[in-house]
């Protein structure tokens, strides 16, 4: 390998007759005047000097080349490989043409590739095309995990990409960008697994119900057991909001998450909600006010003049007071608020609190928060503010030398579909807290991992704070433009973004000072719903058919004339199937069609038998 052609201090061409180059490979140039220069392959080409694209401006037909091969000539014999190499650091003057080039030993490029050790870093994947260099790597860095490549699960042969935990203090937040099917979810899963392995407290918002770590990937020699390292919480079933601890703004956010509030409703909430309200006291107030507004002041007064049970009297007195206290609130607004509140309550939100989440974090676990996205949006606002405040209070107390606060650990917050939680251009309940953590979280050791398929839709203040970005395949021009703007990704890499294979990504991190091409490691666990929906239909159909067949078996042969009796028996055994004569007959016909049963015509009508 040697440097050829015109060189610049930034870029050179390297040619080799024997070796094909691969993009992102690191090469060392032995410049006779400047010493060793390190560069990365940004473009790889091969061509055959003697088989030009055209002879007399016409393509050489493939048939002729094939004939030559049949005659024993190997086309590759005359092939030359050329790589465009971008220097890691600008040279003082143009590289000497003819300078020898070699593949680096690990020690020559260690600082460029590995900025941590397996104990102190998150092993996210392998650095692409580093096999040769990896062979001279320290033993403790070799074969750290599995990768999936060309349909095979195997131990990595490349240099591992380790994201140093200690660097989080300096570069706290991670962005994960990529279209659907790009491997983004795998990336998120791998980060979560790594956090669990390192026992770092973390929360992940999981609107897709996919963050379960108990199903292990098959055919791996070894995989860790995560069942004790994470806890799943369903909003409204395991965890919820303590109504009394809600601030007025929290309540407004919650209500408007169900359906946006009108101006009048917002001011009504502000008037009606009182500090220390429980769900009961607040909803009762709404209920009474509604009734009062429906009756009207004069009718209430009239009722009060009548003879009433003491309880009843109390109620109407209260109604009258409310009317006097809130003379300007329209009925419609109160009804609107009541309806929203009722919906929130129906989700179970107010029956629980967030204590279990805090406990999970305190024991160094990953808390998976699941729920429909609208509920997650509201709930996360409450949850994240609460947790962040707890951590901040503890840390501030510590700084002030007051050790009275209860310990609360630093933690990581992760979410997919981050553009829903901190959208650009409009307000969302959770946007405030996420922006705050993005800007100040570093001080308190609260870190964000935000994944989205639409970086363009993510709030810019937040995007700007994501120091480490992991970028998977991205096809939309808009998003590519955003990515190029927000990262140190170069024009060459940006051009490759739409073609990245699933699971391959570029990592742009100030820690590495360059874009690193990685292949994300194979997660140790699988998402619970990796079943293809069409397979699911097929499975379901097959299961239903098998079940019916096993139920029918004792009744065989079945005569058409006797269907009703069979039907009664079946319905007694399996009431959930809700069979009718018509549907049973259809099912029998289907079984005949699929060859599971036979149908014979007899003098007594059709007979179904095996």
């Amino acid at each position: 390998m040697q440097v050829v052609g015109l060189t610049t201090p930034q870029e050179v061409f390297v040619a080799s007759k024997e070796r094909k180059f691969r993009i992102n490979e690191i090469l060392v140039i032995d410049d006779p005047h400047q010493g060793s220069l390190i560069g990365e392959v940004v473009e790889a080409n091969s061509y055959n000097r003697f088989i030009p694209l055209s002879i007399n401006h016409d393509f050489v037909d493939a048939r002729v080349l094939e004939s030559l091969e049949r005659l024993g000539y190997s086309i590759s014999e005359d092939e030359i490989n050329i790589a465009k190499v971008k220097l890691r650091n600008e040279a003082s003057f143009p590289v000497t043409t003819g300078a020898k080039v070699h593949l680096p030993e690990f020690w020559e490029v260690r600082d460029l590739l590995v900025r941590s050790d397996p104990e102190g870093g998150l092993a996210l994947g392998e650095i692409k095309n580093t096999e040769e260099t990896a062979s001279t790597m320290d033993e403790n860095l070799k074969e750290l995990f599995y990768v999936y490549s060309k349909g095979e699960k195997r131990k990595t042969k490349n240099v591992p990409f380790l994201l140093d935990l200690k660097s989080f203090q300096q570069y706290p937040h991670i962005g994960i960008f990529g279209g659907s099917g790009s491997g983004k979810s795998y990336g998120l899963r791998v980060i979560m697994e790594e956090l669990m392995l390192k026992e770092i407290p973390a929360i992940i918002l999981d609107p897709h119900y996919e963050m379960d770590f108990s199903i292990r990937e098959e055919d791996l020699e070894w995989s860790p057991d995560f069942t004790g390292s994470f806890k799943k919480f369903q909003v409204g079933e395991d965890i919820g909001v303590e109504f009394p601890s809600l601030g007025r703004q929290d309540l407004l956010d919650l209500l408007s998450a169900v359906k946006p509030l009108t101006e009048a409703m917002s001011s009504a909430v502000q008037m009606l909600h009182r500090r220390g309200d429980t769900y009961r006291s607040f909803s009762l107030r709404l209920q009474l006010l509604t009734e009062a507004l429906e009756l009207g002041r004069s009718r209430i007064e009239k009722i009060l003049q009548q003879d009433l049970e003491p309880e009843e009297r109390e109620k109407y007195k209260k109604m009258k007071e409310l009317l006097e206290e809130y003379p300007n609130i329209p009925l419609q607004s109160v009804q609107g608020i009541a309806w929203r509140l009722w919906r929130l309550d129906a989700s179970g939100l107010f029956n629980y609190n967030i204590k279990p989440v805090k406990e999970a974090l305190l024991s160094g676990k990953l808390a998976v928060i699941q729920g429909p996205i609208w509920l997650l949006q509201v709930f996360s606002t409450y949850l994240l503010s609460n947790l962040y405040r707890t951590r901040r209070d503890y840390k501030d107390g510590e700084l002030r030398g007051e050790s009275r606060g209860e310990y609360f650990p630093p933690f990581v917050i992760a979410t997919d579909e981050a553009h829903n939680f901190a959208p650009k251009g409009y307000d969302a309940p959770s946007k405030g807290i996420i922006t705050e953590i993005a800007q100040e979280g570093r001080k308190y050791g609260v870190f964000l991992v935000l994944a989205t398929q639409r970086p363009t839709l993510l709030d810019e203040t937040v995007t700007a704070q994501l120091n480490t970005k992991i970028i998977f395949r991205t096809v939309r021009g808009h998003d590519i433009a955003t990515i190029t703007e927000e990262t140190d990704i170069g024009a060459e890499e940006a051009r490759r973004l739409p073609y990245l294979p699933s699971g391959d990504a570029f990592v742009s991190s100030p820690l590495f000072g360059r874009t690193v091409a990685i292949r994300v490691r194979l997660p140790y666990t699988k998402s619970p719903h990796t079943l293809n929906p069409f397979d699911e239909i097929r499975h379901h159909r097959k299961r239903a058919e098998e079940r019916l067949l096993s139920l029918l078996e004792p009744h065989l042969p079945i005569y058409e004339t006797n269907l009703l009796k069979v039907l009664q028996a079946l319905n007694a055994e399996a009431p959930d199937m809700n069979l009718e004569v018509r549907t049973l007959k259809e099912s029998l016909e289907n079984l005949v069609r699929s060859g599971k049963l036979q149908k014979t015509e007899t003098p007594f009508g059709a007979m179904y038998h095996s």
């Binding site: 088989i51 002729v64 030559l68």
Partner: protein
């Protein structure tokens, strides 16, 4: 055009007119085919592309070798000239390339050589180098077929002694020796059909008469006796290019004519100028470029002495 001398323009117009008239009177495709069919000049044959099996069999028999040569000279005034020559042979079955080369300079040849004689020497020396390369390749690889860039007759004339041993070697080894002629300069047809063809094209070169007359893959096998003794020749259109190429074969090996025709047709890209790709590849490898010449001059003679070999012309401003 405005600056062009009026007399010169008229002179050119007259010549161009005469040429045009000649081409107009050229018999059409059907007529020429008829003339040839009526005479005993030769017969039209159709070639085909060879199958993979046939090609593999050829490879087992030693594959196809090719030989080509190249000459380049510094552009100075005679005798302040250096001429570089090399010939190369390469066989499809081997990676090795066989080179023979020579550097000539009239100042050191001793004899009192004039320019024309020097040119003749250069020409025959190249033929010698090519013959050497060919002999060496036959001895080393015993290829099934050996393609020579240029006619066999040229080798026989320019490198008489080596020609005999080359011929002996190929006959011994069973190698089919084939000359592939890009620029046909023979006049076999016009001399054989002297009485039949119009006066305007009497003495026309074979390629002129055959231009566009042959179909792709079609050849005209010239009857023995109409061509130089000891050789067989075929004019063949091997690609879409309407100009035919010439294929020479030894009289001793004439029964393999069909195989050779098919092979050359197979190895020629349809869109090319009609030369087998194998010879094109060798041509590219053997060629001594002007850049190489210049590099060598600078490296070994130095800039100050290179002046002796640079013509005044080269300093003309464009």
């Amino acid at each position: 055009m405005l600056e062009l001398n009026e007399g010169l323009k008229n002179e050119f117009r007259r010549t161009a007119g005469a040429l045009k008239k000649r081409f107009e009177q050229r018999p059409d495709r059907a007529r020429i085919r008829a003339y040839i069919n009526e005479s005993s000049l030769g017969r039209f044959v159709k070639s085909r592309k060879m199958s993979d099996n046939e090609l593999e069999r050829l490879m087992e028999k030693g594959g196809v070798a090719g030989v080509d040569g190249s000459t380049n000279s510094t552009g100075g005034m005679f005798p302040y000239v250096i001429t570089l020559q090399q010939a190369m042979a390469k066989c499809t079955v081997a990676q090795e390339e066989i080179y023979f080369y020579d550097v000539l300079c009239p100042l050191f040849i001793g004899e009192d050589l004039n320019e024309a004689e020097y040119q003749q020497l250069v020409k025959s020396n190249l033929a010698v180098l090519e013959a050497q390369a060919a002999i060496s390749a036959v001895k080393k690889y015993r290829p099934a077929v050996m393609l020579i860039d240029g006619s066999l007759v040229r080798l026989k004339i320019e490198a008489k002694e080596l020609w005999e041993s080359l011929k002996a070697e190929v006959l011994k080894a069973g190698t089919l020796l084939v000359g592939v002629v890009e620029g046909i300069s023979t006049r076999i047809i016009s001399s054989a059909l002297k009485d039949a063809i119009p006066d305007a094209v009497s003495g026309a070169c074979d390629w002129e008469l055959l231009l566009g007359v042959l179909d792709v893959g079609e050849g005209l096998e010239v009857t023995p006796g109409c061509f130089k003794e000891g050789f067989r020749t075929v004019f063949m259109r091997t690609s879409f290019d309407p100009k035919p190429i010439g294929i020479d074969l030894l009289e001793e090996q004439y029964e393999n004519l069909e195989l050779v025709e098919n092979l050359i047709f197979t190895l020629t890209p349809e869109g090319s100028r009609g030369i087998p790709l194998w010879l094109d590849l060798i041509d590219k490898k053997v060629k001594i470029s002007d850049a190489t010449m210049e590099g060598l001059l600078k490296a070994y003679l130095g800039k100050e002495y290179a002046e002796f070999l640079t013509p005044k012309r080269a300093k003309r401003s464009p």
